[in-house]
């Protein structure tokens, strides 16, 4: 794989890895009394591994110029594997902490294993590890196909992918040690935030350079969504993480904003992370892989454009619905409700567009679990956006907020929409990438589908019940005008639901393990077949390019 890099790119990679290693060692030296040294050492080891690989292949012969006439899919291939490994890891931790809520002593009495420290391991693992790698891997695949252009170079996609995974790795190792800035879904401390900005800018530049190489003047709509994801996440991340570190050699920082301003900034970030990380990017995935897999063009291209601008405009206003009845000024809350409700229109536009695309191919949805994954994703997208708008209305929110209903809602989006579209896309993408007829086992895909669906439903139904029960118990008064239930009563009532949630999560996790297994076996099978077939058949299997050598 590394032999595909030109000599110049190999040297560039060595320099970049060396530089990061140097920074890691420097950080270790400056902050050797602080926990930051742990991060420094890990960063140094990580880059040392990359350098060792590069040095091993440094003397490999120069790659053939023929490679430039094909798409560059190696980063996508690795990205998919990383995505699934992070997925299994993040979901396993998620299920563990789900069981902690029923059996709180399952922590080995270790500080690192307590609920509060490993919850961000779960959220970062699944959102950034699983979701983020899926987005990077598929976006690089989609942008090349829709632009009909190869990535402009072979260094920057690796920088983006490996740099991003370094960020995730350091973040996830940091939380159990107690390194966190405590902002939900933005827990990594200041120096990791800076590193992510660097990686993210490289990602944006890579994406724009690839788009600039395209031949068609029109940019396919999937790229719009991916681009909005990259751009807006950059802005959100930067603004929300503004902080003053106590010293250069220390992990600790204090956020620039405080109190009500910080709350609004945090939930402006939090809600738009949902909008642009967990929605826009995955809609990009949907708008490419769903029509492609169904063999039918998107039902209404126009509707996809209208939805795009609707989502891009309106989501930004909706964050304040996380702060109803709080010390946030009322006008900001009202604004949030208005836009949250209006968001149904573009959201359902996309969901309907996806389902109407499948109209006429229902027999394929019935027979093909891959397509069924995508269909269920579209349904859950419609359901959870409706639920979200509903929960943003103040009276509903007064019941649902702070309860497990919110957690259920998030997972209806995260499991039902995000994970389903990721699995659907991966199951259609992997056979294309490895040029084989299909996944190693169609049967496993089928089992995975039913495990994932039943897991999601058990999870959601138990938490809907839990949340509504909690919300009602908290506000029940007896005849003499006193609160009927103590907080403890409501907590005890949760136990059966928490156990059911743990079971649902376990089913979903099992499905994810099967996906990883299936993908690994597909890759193994493909490489065995390609090594078995002789050179002539291999030449036939590889599509020949139409145009001459690229000019960059």
């Amino acid at each position: 794989m590394l032999a595909q890099l030109s000599f110049r790119e190999r040297n560039l990679a060595l320099c970049a890895a060396g530089l990061v290693m140097l920074v890691g060692l420097l950080v270790t030296a400056v902050g050797w009394q602080d926990l930051i040294a742990v991060h420094g050492v890990i960063a140094a080891l990580y880059t040392a591994g990359i350098i060792a690989l590069l040095l091993k292949h440094r003397k490999a012969p120069a790659p053939s110029p023929e490679r430039l006439k094909e798409y560059y899919d190696d980063p996508t291939k690795i990205g998919i594997l990383l995505c699934l490994v992070w997925g299994v890891f993040g979901m396993a931790v998620g299920d563990w902490i789900a069981w902690l809520m029923a059996y709180p002593d399952a922590t080995f009495d270790a500080a690192w294993a307590s609920f509060g420290r490993i919850r961000p391991v779960h959220t970062t693992g699944v959102i950034f590890g699983f979701g983020g790698n899926a987005l990077i891997a598929t976006s690089l695949h989609v942008v090349q196909r829709t632009s009909r252009a190869r990535l402009p170079d072979q260094f920057s996609p690796w920088f983006v992918l490996l740099g991003y995974n370094l960020f995730c790795l350091l973040a996830v190792i940091g939380y159990p040690l107690g390194i966190t800035q405590s902002k939900e879904y933005a827990e990594p401390e200041w120096y990791l935030d800076i590193w992510l900005v660097i990686v993210w800018v490289a990602y944006l530049v890579l994406y724009l350079r690839t788009l600039a190489r395209r031949q068609e003047p029109h940019i396919y709509v999937a790229n719009w969504y991916y681009l909005a994801f990259i751009l807006v996440v950059a802005v959100l991340h930067t603004v929300n993480n503004l902080a003053v570190p106590i010293a250069v050699g220390s992990t600790k920082s204090y956020s620039l904003f405080s109190g009500v301003q910080d709350a609004m900034t945090q939930w402006w970030y939090g809600h738009n992370a949902v909008a642009f990380f967990l929605t826009a990017g995955f809609l990009g995935m949907l708008y490419y892989y769903l029509p492609k897999c169904a063999g039918r063009p998107i039902y209404s291209y126009r509707m996809s454009i209208i939805s795009f601008w609707g989502i891009t405009f309106m989501y930004m206003w909706a964050g304040s619905h996380h702060l109803h009845y709080t010390a946030l000024p009322q006008w900001v809350q009202t604004l949030g409700v208005g836009f949250s409700v209006m968001l149904i229109v573009p959201s359902w536009g996309s969901a309907a567009n996806a389902l109407l695309t499948l109209n006429g191919a229902w027999h394929r949805v019935r027979d093909d679990a891959t397509l069924r994954f995508m269909m269920v994703a579209a349904v859950f997208y419609g359901l959870s956006t409706f639920e979200g708008s509903f929960m943003a209305i103040r009276p509903v929110n007064s019941l649902s907020h702070y309860t497990d209903w919110t957690v259920g809602h998030v997972h209806s989006g995260a499991l039902g929409w995000v994970a389903f579209i990721v699995f659907g896309s991966i199951y259609s993408l992997v056979p294309w990438l490895y040029k084989c007829k299909g996944m190693y086992s169609k049967y496993l895909v089928e089992i995975h589908f039913w495990l994932a669906l039943s897991g999601t439903l058990i999870y959601l139904i138990s938490l809907w019940n839990a949340g509504i029960t909690q919300g009602l118990m908290w506000r029940t008064y007896n005849e003499s005008g006193e609160l009927t239930y103590s907080f403890l009563d409501s907590m005890i009532a949760m136990k059966p639901y928490y156990i059911a949630r743990g079971i649902g999560g376990f089913l979903f996790l099992t499905g994810a393990c099967l996906a990883l297994l299936n993908v690994v076996m597909t890759i193994k099978q493909a490489s065995r077949e390609s090594s078995r077939s002789d050179a002539s058949t291999r030449a036939a299997a590889v599509d020949l390019p139409v145009a001459g050598a690229p000019q960059s």
Binding site: Q181, E184, I246, K252, T312
Partner: protein, 243 residues
């Protein structure tokens, strides 16, 4: 010709980038920017005091352990919230909270009005193993807090960073941060008088964790929990004036 098409194509993607920024940027700007410019957002609370170094250290432990994942610090303006927890939270109360810890989930109860509701002893027992005091509790046991001495060495740096983001710590507070932290949990020290002078007579100076010989992380966390909702009397005055 090729250059011209190329130019046009690049212009398209840049136009798309600009359009996305323009369209998405408006929402954040109009929603967040005014919060920084109006005085009405945060009521004035003249008696509001800053966290002592020990309480700040405790707050950092609260964040490190992820307490905010299960406990909110925000009493909403709803009747049942106020009846259950106490006067609703005001913006002024978290004006020195960098970052705020309003929270988003109540797996456990709200903590905004926790201060002085339970004894130090209860908190120490409860944090050490919640099921010793509340058999049905599902809170994790934080046994290591009692056996870990508090790191007070770099507290001056913490206070200094807080000042740089706008919290009114003065020079004396910053330079004496370590000494003040130790003094707050060790009442017999002569320095505790100086601490009271800096942070006010109301400051809790006592052995929080029941272990007089060392200042532990438990001391810091309990000191922080006991000050929750007690930094200003404003919310209590407001609720009595409206009733």
């Amino acid at each position: 010709m090729i250059i011209k098409t190329h130019y046009r194509i690049e212009k398209n993607s840049i136009a798309l980038v600009l359009a996305i920024i323009l369209v998405s940027g408006i929402g954040g700007l109009f929603e967040i920017a005014p919060l920084f410019s109006i005085d009405e957002t945060v009521e004035s609370a003249p008696d509001m005091r800053v966290y002592t170094p020990l309480e700040l250290a405790g707050r950092n432990i609260y964040m490190r352990e992820g307490c905010y994942a299960c406990h909110s610090q925000m009493v909403r303006t709803l009747k049942d919230d106020v009846d259950r927890y106490g006067p609703y939270s005001l913006a002024a109360e978290s004006q020195y909270d960098h970052p705020m810890l309003w929270g988003s989930k109540r797996t456990g109860p709200d903590l905004a009005r926790l201060g002085e509701k339970y004894s130090d002893h209860w908190h120490t027992m409860h944090l050490n193993n919640p099921r010793d005091v509340v058999p049905e509790s599902i809170m994790p046991a934080y046994r290591w807090l009692l056996r870990t001495p508090l790191d007070t060495q770099d507290l001056s740096l913490h206070l200094n960073a807080m000042r740089r983001v706008g919290v009114p710590y003065d020079d004396a507070m910053i330079s004496n941060a370590t000494q003040d932290a130790l003094a707050q949990a060790t009442p017999e020290l002569s320095t505790s008088k100086a601490l009271m002078e800096r942070y006010g007579e109301e400051t809790n100076v006592r052995v929080f964790d029941g272990k007089a010989d060392t200042v532990t992380e438990m001391d810091a966390l309990v000191a922080y929990l006991q000050i929750l909702g007690r930094l200003t009397a404003l919310p209590y005055q407001e609720s009595s004036s409206t009733q």
